[in-house]
């Protein structure tokens, strides 16, 4: 081919487009700075910012699975909230069994109890995700209206099952001793649990990025989001990948359920469907199927909800919806739209 070879060249992305691509990353610090200007008091701002980041991280944990499931499988799962609620109930049950550990002043025992609760919640919701995908989702691949109906049905069934197993009343549980109280930075008091939530959310985001960018399964997921048919033509069984992703997404929702439950210290069978409004907003803001977009969207929602709750409590009720409207007017496909094959 050497004689007829053409000179290799690459199409350069214009500078303006490069800046526009990076712009969503600057939204989070931008909103934080606006918050500082509006609040005025640095101590209050720091407390609210950490609270907002913690809330955002917990929403990200719940939303990350949903966005990947949508991107890869083109499945609108309105039943995702069921995994949040079941995860919280399983986690609380484990924490109740380990009441001696959670009441102990030992940080290690507290940590072990929470980790076991998270593990149990993730295993149970992962298995539930397996059953959900096989029984409810698999028959309706490619049919969005049916997906909405049957996954909503699955959510209702799961909520009723929670009533059967744990009863209709809400459950209360105190956080382990090590996660109670606050850490004082200057004049700002920051709840310890919020710092833990930020750390876990950040670790999860970095782990997901690593898996998606540096492992073959991650490459397959990214390729599958763009063109599942071509992934199959290369010899990979995408249905198996679907199942793994669905189970992982369900397990992450379970983890989010435990985290959210410990944050609120109260859980109900409807907690999943209640938080799903925020989760869907985050997924839409981020761009359906985009983990990075979901992460930024979750932080934006968390920060804005906390700032507006402090500055104008009545506006807080509509702040997240308003954020979604503004983002979609700017980027109709979300912050990081995922390219899909026709």
């Amino acid at each position: 081919m050497s004689e007829t070879a053409i000179k290799p060249r690459i199409e350069k992305v214009p500078f303006r487009e490069q800046v526009m691509q990076k712009l969503p990353v600057l939204l989070v610090p931008g909103v934080a700075l606006l918050g500082l200007a509006a609040i005025g008091n640095p101590a209050s701002w720091l407390t609210l910012t950490v609270a907002g980041l913690a809330m955002g991280m917990m929403i990200f944990i719940m939303a990350s699975g949903l966005t990947v499931v949508f991107g890869l499988m083109d499945v609108i799962n309105f039943g995702h909230g069921a995994f949040v609620a079941v995860g919280a109930f399983v986690g609380f049950t484990v924490l109740a069994w380990l009441a001696g550990w959670t009441a102990s002043p030992s940080v290690m025992l507290n940590l072990a109890a929470v980790l076991l609760a998270i593990l149990a919640a993730m295993v149970v919701t992962g298995m539930l995700g397996y059953a959900f995908e096989r029984v409810i989702v698999m028959p309706v691949y490619g049919e969005h209206l049916k997906q909405i109906l049957v996954t909503m049905g699955g959510l209702i069934v799961a909520q009723q099952m929670i009533y059967v197993v744990w009863g209709p009343d809400e459950l209360h549980i105190s956080r382990p001793a090590a996660f109670q109280g606050s850490v004082v930075f200057g004049e700002a008091a920051i709840e310890k649990y919020r710092l833990v939530a930020v750390a876990i959310g950040l670790a999860l985001f970095l782990a997901m990025r690593h898996v998606l960018k540096n492992t073959k399964v991650g490459l397959l997921v990214r390729a599958g989001v763009e063109n599942g048919e071509m992934v199959e033509a290369l010899g990979y069984r995408i249905r198996r990948l679907f199942l793994i992703v669905f189970m992982t997404g369900s397990a992450l929702a379970g983890l989010g359920g435990v985290m959210w439950g410990l944050y609120q210290e109260t859980i109900t069978a409807h907690m999943g469907s209640e938080i799903m409004v925020l989760v869907f907003i985050v997924v839409i803001i981020g761009g359906l199927g985009s983990v990075e977009g979901c992460f930024i969207g979750a932080l934006l929602v968390g920060l804005l909800a906390n700032y507006t709750a402090f500055l104008a409590p009545k506006v807080a009720l509509i702040s997240t919806i308003a954020l979604m409207v503004v983002i979609l007017m700017w980027r109709p496909q979300g912050l990081y739209p995922v390219v899909k094959a026709k």
Partner: protein
């Protein structure tokens, strides 16, 4: 006598309410290039997609080296050594060139010797190895699409209009590359509208119309017989050179 690697007999394919393939009979000899010609909408792409299992034949048999593959799913057909280069190239634009190639080597690590050969065949693959595939030009994407199909030895490569929308210089480069690929005794079933390219590398030819094969034979016979060309395709060789 030439061995037949792929054979289709009486294949029908329905896509929704549309009856696209209406009894396709096709034999692809081993080790050569068979070109599938026909006007737009004749059923060429549907034939490739049906062979690949992306659409299921409602009737008829598809055999690969005498093994029935009609009801096999796409990953299984791929594992039996069939590669597919779709009309839209099927490049994963969010991945780098290297990642595209890595995924294409589905049975294990990339054979470095083979990769070196491919980089020689398609220089942009080496030049833009770490670049995002989405930033490549149309011709480079097409080269990546073909390179991905040959990163592992295949029994059969299905290529759907590799020159569509490309500049003449790139078409020449692609023709040269396919000619070199032909030297490796790889069997290729090529859908192509560019008759100059098709005649340059094709050994055998089949012409489709209305979901059926209306002619099959040696490419040299079709090239020499302009009357046959006019009758089959309503075009002359000169007009498309």
């Amino acid at each position: 006598m030439v061995d037949i690697l792929l054979s289709l007999s009486g294949v029908h394919t329905l896509i929704g309410p549309y009856h696209i393939l209406q009894g396709v009979d096709l034999a692809v000899p081993e080790g050569g290039v068979t070109v599938l010609l026909g006007r737009n909408g004749a059923g060429k792409t549907t034939t490739l997609r049906t062979i690949m299992g992306l659409w299921t034949a409602s009737q008829g048999d598809i055999r690969l080296a005498d093994h029935l593959i009609t009801q096999l799913d796409t990953p299984e057909i791929s594992r039996r050594g069939v590669a597919y280069v779709p009309e839209d190239m099927g490049i994963f634009t969010d991945l780098t060139v290297a990642e595209n190639m890595l995924l294409a080597a589905s049975s294990g690590p990339i054979d470095q010797q083979r990769l070196a050969w491919i980089k020689d065949l398609f220089p942009p693959i080496g030049t833009f190895w770490e670049a995002s595939a989405g930033t490549l030009s149309g011709g480079q994407k097409q080269m990546l699409s073909v390179a991905r199909a040959i990163i592992e030895p295949r029994r059969l490569i299905l290529i759907d209009e590799p020159t569509k929308g490309l500049a003449p210089a790139i078409i020449n480069a692609m023709t040269e590359a396919l000619r070199e690929l032909k030297q490796t005794d790889t069997t290729i079933l090529l859908v192509e509208q560019n008759f100059a390219m098709a005649s340059a590398i094709g050994d055998t030819v089949a012409v489709m119309d209305d979901g059926r094969i209306i002619h099959s034979g040696q490419m040299s016979e079709l090239v020499e017989d302009e009357g046959l060309q006019e009758r089959l395709m309503g075009l002359s060789l000169e007009a498309h050179q």
